[in-house]
């Protein structure tokens, strides 16, 4: 397969219009990390098991290690770089700090992406554990993460009245 056509792909990443060229089957995670320098998205398993590579595609969490670059065409993408900012943390990021929810940190970007989506969707706090089912953590034992996400959901609902 020496013939590798490259296609031009336009999409929105973290609110900014982007255009890049990639072979259609290049993994989106490689485009994000290696071509666009968005290194916040992590690779754990590369097989859809761990969720470390989670991003929002069209507003919903997917594993970017299983998404071909071509599927970014016209899409709205959010990576961890698009959640909060160093000066203004997202409610989930603040809650992770407050609850000590990160140890080695490899799973954290994916966890925060899925959690931010839960806050956005106003998911009930008792669905947090089930909805984090696609994000594995080898360090924390999950309780600090689940507590943080529940706190962020409660905080976000409180601030919106």
């Amino acid at each position: 397969m020496s013939h590798r056509p490259v296609v031009r792909i336009s999409c929105t990443i973290n609110g900014v219009a982007r255009e890049f060229k990639a072979p259609p089957m290049r993994r989106l995670i490689d485009v994000l990390r290696d071509d666009l320098g968005l290194m916040g998205t992590k690779e754990g398993c590369g097989e859809g098991e761990c969720g470390a590579c989670s991003i929002l595609l069209g507003g919903e969490p997917v594993n970017s290690c299983l998404v071909p670059a071509i599927q970014a065409q016209g899409a709205d993408i959010t990576t961890i770089e698009g959640i909060g900012s160093p000066g203004l943390r997202h409610a989930v990021q603040q809650a992770f700090l407050d609850h000590g929810s990160a140890q080695c940190g490899i799973c954290t970007p994916g966890m925060v992406i899925t959690a931010a989506w839960m806050v956005e969707k106003k998911l009930p706090a008792d669905e947090v554990a089930r909805t984090l089912a696609g994000n594995l953590c080898r360090c924390t034992g999950y309780s600090a993460i689940i507590e943080a996400v529940q706190a962020a959901i409660v905080a976000a609902q409180g601030s919106r009245g």
Binding site: M25, A133, G134
Partner: protein, 327 residues
């Protein structure tokens, strides 16, 4: 980390184009919908493809419609939608439940119903890297000549691990297919063959367009139960759908469809229990019946004898679940 070798990909804009591309490229072409099964297996070298034909932009495959006493679900509908759709929840709650038990939210946001029904078979001797498999000399399904699950066997007996297949069989689903020869209909139960190398009996160049499910009558209930080591992400190691048709508190018929055994689901008719009440005795008998008639093989992880006993337990629990519903 294993890398995916570069592949050519076509993005047809409609169904006719998709079918034409499959015809043009012949056996080297492979359909890709959500890609959550086909990409990992291409990476592990379990399947080969020269050209991928993506179904993502084919509008005819999308949507869930109630029409003529049936629910028609496009093959490209994502599992996340099926798990939460109001019509599916109202009329086919066991399908919504089965869809919600697949993998993880991330995968259900990509994975489609068509891909789930056409899922490749699984076996602990094939879901491994090339290097691992070569060390064993391969097997019938991967450039070898011996099956390690049934030594001397002629067929690959890898397991169908789709969560939605058993439940849709129990609901009596039929498939709408489109191929070079035009459209045809096929009962879902007839989609699967006995050889795990080619267990999906689509004709060359055929696309699964939609799944049609007749709306169950008021006395019909279906339950789906899945057992795996972890409550999420894992493929089922035991899976079973039980359908009971009940009138005036008595059984009039039923079906049991067990997955994760062989390349095709094991489908058993429950008509001989007609006239019985749905109670704990019936639950125990049907559990024993499943135990007698199903033999899990050492193809997927976990002890086969344990899975056989576990199947009986899951059948019993499914019947008890259905028994509490008034009919």
């Amino acid at each position: 980390m294993l890398r995916l070798s570069p592949l050519h990909l076509h993005q047809p804009r409609d169904l006719a184009q998709a079918v034409a591309l499959l015809a043009e490229h012949g056996p080297q072409a492979r359909l890709i919908a959500g890609g959550t099964d086909v990409l990992p297996s291409l990476k592990l070298g379990q399947t080969q493809a020269g050209v991928l034909v993506s179904l993502r932009r084919v509008p005819e495959l999308l949507g869930i419609d109630l029409q003529d006493g049936q629910l028609r679900i496009g093959a490209g509908t994502r599992l996340a939608e099926i798990a939460t759709d109001a019509d599916v929840l109202a009329h086919l709650p066991a399908l919504a439940h089965a869809a919600s038990r697949v993998a993880s939210p991330q995968i259900r946001n990509m994975g489609t119903l068509g891909g789930n029904l056409c899922l490749d078979t699984r076996c602990r001797f094939i879901n491994q890297s090339d290097l691992w498999r070569e060390a064993l000399g391969g097997c019938l399904k991967s450039h070898g000549s011996e099956c390690h699950v049934v030594p001397g066997g002629q067929n690959c007996v890898a397991a169908l691990s789709s969560d939605t297949a058993p439940v849709l069989i129990a609901y009596g689903a039929t498939l709408e297919l489109l191929g070079p020869q035009g459209t045809r209909e096929l009962a879902l139960v007839d989609l699967y063959g006995a050889d795990g190398r080619h267990h999906v009996l689509l004709q060359p160049g055929e696309v699964l367009v939609a799944v049609r499910v007749p709306l169950p009558g008021p006395g019909t209930r279906v339950a789906y139960r899945k057992w795996a080591v972890r409550k999420s992400i894992d493929f089922p190691l035991v899976s079973v759908a039980v359908r009971l048709d009940v009138a005036a508190g008595r059984l009039t018929g039923g079906t049991l469809a067990a997955g994760a055994l062989n390349p095709r689901p094991r489908v058993l008719d429950l008509a001989k229990w007609a006239g019985r009440a749905v109670d704990a005795d019936l639950a125990a008998e049907l559990g024993q019946f499943a135990f007698d008639r199903c033999r899990p093989l050492p193809n997927v992880p976990y002890d086969a004898e344990y899975r056989r006993e576990r199947l009986a337990v899951e059948v019993r629990r499914a019947v008890l679940e259905l028994g509490v519903i008034p009919s």
